[in-house]
Structures are given as structure tokens and as C-alpha cells.
Symmetry: C2
Subunit: 520 residues, 2 copies
């Protein structure tokens, strides 16, 4: 869960210009309109994650700008101050040097832009809310930035089926508010909801807080409108739950990080708004107990279980120390946040009571507290959601987003602690137990190449040995593209390359992202 995005002001307009902070694990500074990389002193050691050389795309000319100004009048931004926040990711870890930001309002405008860029061999970086964590939504060099920020129309909503269609630039939180007034909710919820765009959510196959209950976007997205690299508009914007007429093309674009096409509209199946929400904060003596508690609550809470998140005692210390958040229960090695949501408050309360009684009686859980009112629910959730914020106060962060068989997820934290010994300041684990998704963070007083070398490739090798994923929900973007082979066989990566070549033969769409360098 990218809860840290909550810290990020909308569109990041207040980022310091041309500076970088120390709280990023991998930072690059690329020159403006030059052929080679700037290699500032703070650039990390060359590694698999380093950016490749600029590919031979054309460079923006005055004629290009004139064309863009004709297509999107008043919405072709070249003012460096205005461009600044689109050139840098919200972690301030990746910075490009684009000279033009285009803000189309329609798929037709996107189509004209891409057709032109494809013919001119101009590279393009699609950008939604720019809340990604792997450098996928900002230019690496001077790519044209194509923003969905002005594509904010809700197109249709069917209150019988709960199917919403909207343009790609709708902010997730705005969609949630729109739906809640109509007794529905979005099937996904993220910390970044105040900034992220639904098009970006789909392009990155965002996970988040509701995945355990409502499943992934591969199941809930019913249709997409996508503009392909050559400007063709692919209309797969169905609003049907079932459609078995040929290959399900929209699936290709879900999670492709803008490298195969630009998503311009989305239709999505929305669940009914729950009438009752409860949150419980529990403590467990061991991770094994925490897993047994998960099993128990899947059985006893059944259809009303909507989140099962965990944090370890190191996380709790960070929350206490840096954010002055007191532990709501007694000290334990592990903590769990459980959320239920259902249609009947009495029934939900009874189920929860029975589950808690069983969990306490069987000693799976040593302490706990329950919240039913909004303010206490928020307070308990903050123990989970503000961990990343607390981490930023603990020094330099090395951040990992790992998917593992659920019974293995904490073993990686334990093994990493042992492996690093005294080299790390802190090794902390938290995440979505229900989804088998661990957020592993390692802190250090300052950036420490030797520590990084001890972490990687150890962490990727460990993950691969369990058939895990080195990116559960964050995607590969620029930062992790070359680690893909730890989670995918070369056969699969080669096929991805073929798909890319088929849909974007010139490679203009979001270059240097998702696919590894050696495919180029």
C-alpha cells in the first residue's frame, strides 16, 4: 500500500526546484538537452537500476511546439517553472528534463499528439497523478510529457449495475466521493487517492487497501479506451460484466505502465457502499500466531473481512519515536489491523465479537482494541498508514515491495536482519498479509553503497527462490526494469518485448521503463 503518498501535496507543486532530497534510495540527475548523463557526486553507483543512454529519438523543435500549440491551444506548457513538478517524481528520486508538457482534454487530442510524435520519432511519457514509486511516470531525458490532468469527465454511471465510465484523468478520491453519494464505492483505495488518476491506477495495476475484498483491476476494470503509439484509438470501453467476443485486449494495457498505449477512458465495476465498517487492532506473540489469526478470521468473518494488514514491533517503535503515536495496546512483537465492512452493523458486530473471543481464548492474540466510530477508525488505521512517514524520519530508506507465499513473508525480514547484522540501522516489515505483500524497509543514517550492495541482489535472490515477485504492486518503471528476470522467465520477457514491438514499433511510449535494457 503506497500510503506514503498521503504525504505528498497534490501535484507536488511545492517541490524545491532542481534539488534532490536525501530520502530516496536511487537518485539520478539527467542533463537538460544533452546527449550524456550528468554524473553528479550524489548519483548512485552504476547498477542494474541505472538509466541507460538516451535512445536516438528526435529532439523537440520550434515547429513541433507550434504544432502542439495548434492541437492543444493554451495547454502546451513550456514554462520551466510549470514543467518542474512534472519532470520529477514525488519521491524526488528521478528527474527528467522535458521541455514540453501537453494537457489534452479528449482522446482525439491524444490521438493527434501521438500520431504526430510517432511520425516525428519523438518520445512520450504519459503521466497521471505522478504518484508512482518506481520512476515510471516522469521523463528520463527530454520526452514529451502527456498529462491526463484535464481529462476529468465522468461519462456515465449505471446505478443498477454499478458500472462507472470516466476519462483517465479523474482523481481517484473524486470518483470515490461521486460514487459514495450514489451508494457505491470504488473497488480500489490507495493512500495516494487525493492525487492519483484512475488512468494511472489502471496503467500501473494499482493494488491498495481493497484488493483483499474486491480483487485486482484485471477483474474489476470492464473496459478501456486506449490511444496506441501511432495515434489509433482502440475502443474497448465496454460496460458489460461479460463479453467473450475474441481476445480480451484491454488486459494488455492494465499494468503496462504506459509503454503500450495511453489509457484515455476507463469503465469499472463498483461495489455497493458498506453500511457498517469496523476496525480492530490486535497484538500477536509470533508471526505464526498472526497467520493462524488470519486463517481464523477468514473463516469467522468470512464475507465481511475487507483488510488484514500487519506491522512489526520495529514499525511501532518508529511510530512512537518519530510521530509520537502511542501504541493503542500493550507491546507485542507483531500487530494486526483488521477491517470489516458489511451491510448490517449488528451482524458485523456479532461476527467480530465471536472472532475476537475465539482469538483471545485460543491465545492467538494477546491484546486488542476495536473501533466502530470514524475518528477511532482513522486513529487505528494511522498506525498502519503512517509507517512510511515515520520511516522518512529514521534516515535514508531502502524500500522494497515484495510478493511472497503468505507463510513466507516475515521470514524475509528475519533473514534480512540476520544477513545485514549491524550494517543497517533498522530492518522493518509491514504490509498486506491478506495479499501476501510485504513492504520491507531498511534504514541507514545516510546513503550507504556498501549496505545497498549487501541488500541487493540478496533480497531479489531470496524472493526468486520462493517464486515471489520483486514488485507486488509498485510496478517496474525505470528503477526496477532490469530486475524483471528475478520474477519472470526469459521466455516471458522476450514475449513482452514482442508485444511492445508490435504495438509501439518505434518505442516512443514511455521509453526506458518496464522492459529491461537488454531487450532493446
Amino acid at each position: 500500500m503506497p500510503v506514503f503518498c498521503r504525504l505528498y501535496p497534490s501535484h507536488g507543486r511545492d517541490f524545491p526546484k532542481n534539488t534532490k532530497t536525501e530520502d530516496s534510495s536511487h537518485s539520478w540527475q539527467f542533463g537538460v538537452c544533452c546527449r550524456t548523463l550528468h554524473t553528479g557526486a550524489d548519483r548512485p553507483e552504476p547498477s542494474l537500476a541505472a538509466a541507460p543512454d538516451r535512445l536516438p529519438f528526435s529532439r523537440i523543435t520550434q515547429e513541433d511546439l507550434a504544432f502542439f500549440r495548434k492541437i492543444v491551444p493554451g495547454r502546451a506548457i513550456t514554462d520551466p517553472d510549470l514543467l518542474e513538478s512534472s519532470n520529477v517524481d514525488w519521491l524526488k528520486s528521478v528527474r527528467g528534463s522535458s521541455e514540453v508538457l501537453l494537457r489534452p482534454q479528449t482522446a482525439e487530442e491524444v490521438s493527434q499528439i501521438l500520431k504526430y510524435c510517432n511520425s516525428r520519432n519523438l518520445a512520450v511519457t504519459p503521466q497521471g497523478g505522478n504518484t508512482g514509486l518506481v520512476g515510471g511516470s516522469v521523463p528520463v531525458y527530454d520526452e514529451v510529457i502527456l498529462s491526463t490532468a484535464l481529462m476529468t469527465n465522468i461519462l456515465t454511471f449505471d446505478s443498477i449495475s454499478g458500472i462507472l465510465t470516466c476519462q483517465a484523468g479523474c482523481v481517484l478520491e473524486n470518483l470515490s466521493l461521486y460514487l459514495e453519494e450514489r451508494d457505491y464505492i470504488m473497488p480500489l483505495d490507495l493512500g495516494a487517492k487525493g492525487s492519483c488518476h484512475i488512468g494511472g491506477n489502471v496503467a500501473t495495476n494499482a493494488g491498495g487497501l481493497r484488493l483483499l475484498r474486491y480483487g485486482s483491476l484485471h477483474g474489476t476494470v470492464l473496459g478501456l479506451e486506449v490511444v496506441l503509439a501511432d495515434g489509433k484509438v482502440l475502443d474497448c470501453l465496454a460496460t458489460l460484466r461479460k463479453d467473450n467476443t475474441g481476445y480480451d485486449l484491454k488486459q494488455l494495457f492494465i499494468g503496462s505502465e504506459g509503454t503500450l498505449g495511453v489509457i484515455t477512458a476507463v469503465s469499472v465495476l463498483c461495489p455497493r457502499k458498506p453500511k457498517s465498517v469496523n476496525v480492530v487492532f490486535l497484538g500477536c506473540e509470533t508471526f505464526e500466531h498472526l497467520l493462524k489469526t488470519f486463517q481464523l478470521c477468514r473463516g469467522m468473518l468470512g464475507e465481511i473481512l475487507s483488510a488484514y494488514e500487519f506491522l512489526d514491533s520495529e514499525c511501532m517503535q518508529l511510530l512512537n519515536m518519530h510521530l509520537k503515536l502511542p501504541n493503542p495496546i500493550s507491546d507485542c512483537p507483531f500487530y494486526v489491523v483488521i477491517e470489516t465492512s458489511g451491510s448490517d452493523p449488528t451482524h458485523d458486530g456479532e461476527k467480530l465479537h465471536n472472532f475476537l473471543e475465539e482469538a483471545m481464548t485460543s491465545s492467538l492474540v494477546t491484546d486488542g482494541t476495536v473501533a466502530t466510530e470514524d475518528s477511532k477508525i482513522k486513529a487505528l488505521w494511522s498506525m498502519r498508514e503512517r509507517i512510511t512517514e515515520a520511516l522518512t524520519h529514521d534516515g535514508f530508506n531502502y524500500k522494497y515491495d515484495i510478493s511472497l507465499p503468505v507463510e513466507r513473508i516475515y521470514q524475509l525480514v528475519t533473514d534480512m536482519r540476520e544477513h545485514l547484522g549491524g550494517r543497517a540501522k533498522r530492518v522493518v516489515g509491514y504490509g498486506h498479509v491478506g495479499d501476501g505483500n510485504l513492504h520491507l524497509n531498511i534504514t541507514s543514517p545516510a546513503k550507504d553503497p556498501a549496505l545497498l550492495a549487501a541488500i541487493e541482489p540478496f533480497i531479489y535472490e531470496w524472493t526468486a527462490s520462493c517464486q515471489g515477485s520483486i514488485s507486488a504492486e509498485h510496478g517496474l518503471g525505470l528503477k526496477k526494469r532490469n530486475y524483471i528476470y528475478y520474477s519472470k522467465p526469459s521466455q516471458a520477457v522476450a514475449l513482452m518485448g514482442n508485444i511492445k514491438a508490435m504495438l509501439d514499433p518505434k518505442g516512443i511510449l514511455n521509453p526506458y521503463k518496464t522492459l529491461p535494457d537488454n531487450l532493446k
Copy 2:
């Protein structure tokens, strides 16, 4: 919902040899090893659905058979009696003339077979339980039949996460039984469960009874192992709920009807087994009331609603007349079958009681009955599930499987009745309201080309005018391949053709299926 498949004995071994029955809407008879079609008197008029000429694939030689016997010793079937049931679909509406049926046990064997067939330019028809309804799983000419029937191993089951991995030939019902012993269920259920294979379910993106609750296979299938046309084994058999490392390749194969690769193993996320199941049979005066009742029950039954199915009074008459099934309630224009499944029998009962009270008080529902015990549940379900059986006793059937915005689904039945006037014996509608999926059937005393000409393309044009799908869950197969343009724009179909050409350049996999003829 292909409930009619329940009528079909496992593997259809008792089909009469070389005969065709009259209960199929489109029938073809193709010659054995000849270059031109047999044009028997009962072959329908040439139409979009008719089979194309045989493509220039190689013909099986003795050397080929010798090779196959080496690869799958004792499992390369050439006895015409044994081949018979694999050459014909269960509706007995499409018959091929393959001379060899291969029954591999491993992905490696499938790989060797496909590598060989690709090099020899031999066409291959993958076949699971052969329960499809659109002629997708049988050869059209002399294609090699590649059956998954002997690939029946369950590979792993994780009782914490509920993730099952198994070979493609596992029969759905066997998987259900295996899981129920472990307190889980499969996320899909079909009438054909006693015969259909999980690999075939995934290859056809089967819908069925649980889709309303657990969503489509695009969400619940977590991994696939697929053998490509050239024999390469694509290992995407992840057992992770989240994995954002590159494009989600497995999605391409879900619903591609064996035209892009042969699925050899599947991993799937399984829900917990419900502790409580209730079924209600209700009557409504109008379809509008039926839709309002759907809205009401989505709100009041919420998370325990697991099916919302309907039938019209014409269906009820067929059930009474042909199967002697009495109406369990008083006569109404429309009937609804609602199923709940949950984790607490008392809570579920209370929710259902409250919903029924509200539905009756508000006059949305005029009569109803509830079942909580197994035998009565089965009896009520049979009112929905045995409609197709009843239809077969009513004459020649013209069958359609249409997806529409939920508020439009019965309008098509009404319009069709008006459009056909006295030309049809009966026009009946039933299906999955919750999924917007209508099964529209038209009966006639005998096959009637004039009637067919009145139905088609009217039904497809009507569906297209509502942005519906001409195949909600049955797929396109042989029978509907050329109607694809009613539901997909040419841009999308062209891209499907490019994907086919990329993955299967010689077109050996399940030729004449899914994609329209004019792409070849």
C-alpha cells in the same frame, strides 16, 4: 450459464456414431480427409457462420503417427470408434474428421507435440471436456486433437491463501470436491462441471453461476503454464495474488479458445466454503419490478448475495409441459432465483427475512418461497437449470447468449417476439440478471431457414445498438467467429489478428475459430 451441459454424459461416449440429431441450430458435416466440404441436405444455408475452406495444412502421414506414438506411447489414438466422441461437439452440431487423438500427460509432452506439428505444418485442436457450445473444441477438418484428459494432477494447494495449482485436465467437479474437503470452493461453477476441464474453462473464460459473487477468471486465475505453437513452454504459473513485474501475459490466453497456446496448468484463488446457503424463488409482475428487486437485494443482502437469476413465464410453461415440474409459487410473468451464501446461518436468515419482508411490502414481489435444506434448494435451482432441457423438447432451438446493460436485457426478448410475430413457435428469455447476461431461445417445429433469416442479423444488430456483446460467456469458436464485428471495432479485431500472427505465425492452433475469416 451452460446448464444444459448437465444433460451431457461424461465425455459423451454414448453419442450415436456418425449421426446428427435435429436439436442443433447450426450443423455441418465435413468429409474425412477430403478437400471439399460435404454438403448434405441438412447443412444450413451458407451464412456468416459457415465453415471456410480447409486451409493448406499438411495431412497426417504414417511417419507422423509413428512420431506421436513415440512421444505419447499408448496414448496416440487412431481407432475411429475411440475418436468419434472427440470429433463431435456435445450439441452434435459440429463434426470434424480427425484421424488422431493425442493424450499427453505433461507439458513437456505437449511441447514436443506442438514443436513437431508446427515444423510439419499440422493443424491442432486443443480439447478439454468438449462441453463448449460454439464448436470451439472439435476439429473442423482433420486437425490433430490434443486432449488434456490425462493431465489430471493437483500440483499444490495452500490452505492459508486458498491458492490451488493443478494440471489443465482436472475436471471442475473433482477440483470442487477436493477443495470442499479443505473448506474451500472453486470460484466458478458450471452446469458442465462433471465433464469440463479447468484448462478449458480458462481457455474459454467460462462464466457460470458464481461470477456475480467472485468475478471473472481474469481476476481469480493467478497463473498459467502455456505451451505456445512452436512448443516453447511459457511459465507464468505464479501463485501470488499480486505481481506487477511486466505485462500480465497470462491474461492473453484467458478466453482465447486455444488459438494462442495450449494451457497445461492453472493456478487459481479459491474462496472459503460458505457455512450457510439459502435459495429463494420469487414472482414479479413486471421486469421493471424484477430489476428494482435486484437493486433492493443488492442493498439488503449485500455481501451474501451469490446469484440473481431469472426466467420468464414462457420458460415456466416449458418446465410444466415438458418436464412436469410444477410452479412452486403462483403464476407470474417473471420469476427470480436468488441465492445467498455466507458464514453465519442466523445472520444470513435474518438478512433474507428482512429483504423478503421489504420486497413483499413494497409489492415488488407478488409471491415467493424459501429453501434452506439441500433437497429443496436443488428443486428450486432446477427451475432455472432445466430450462434448456425443457427447450429441447419444444422443437428446433435457435440459441443466443447475449450480454446487455442490465436494464435492457428483457427488451430484446419483447422486441424479438414482436419482430417474429407468428413465425416462431416460442421466444423465451432467462439468464443471469446480476451479470447482464440473457439467454434468448427461439423454438420452431423444425429447422426453418426463413425463421433464422428473420432472427439474424436482427438480434446482432439490436445487441450492437446497445453496445452489448453477441457472446457473453460461450465464446466465438467456429460458429460465431464472423459475428465478432457486431461487438468489437475493426481496430480491435485487427489487433487480435496481429497477436495471433505473433504467437502462432503458421496458424496451426485451433484454426477456423475465434477470429473472422476475412483476417486470414
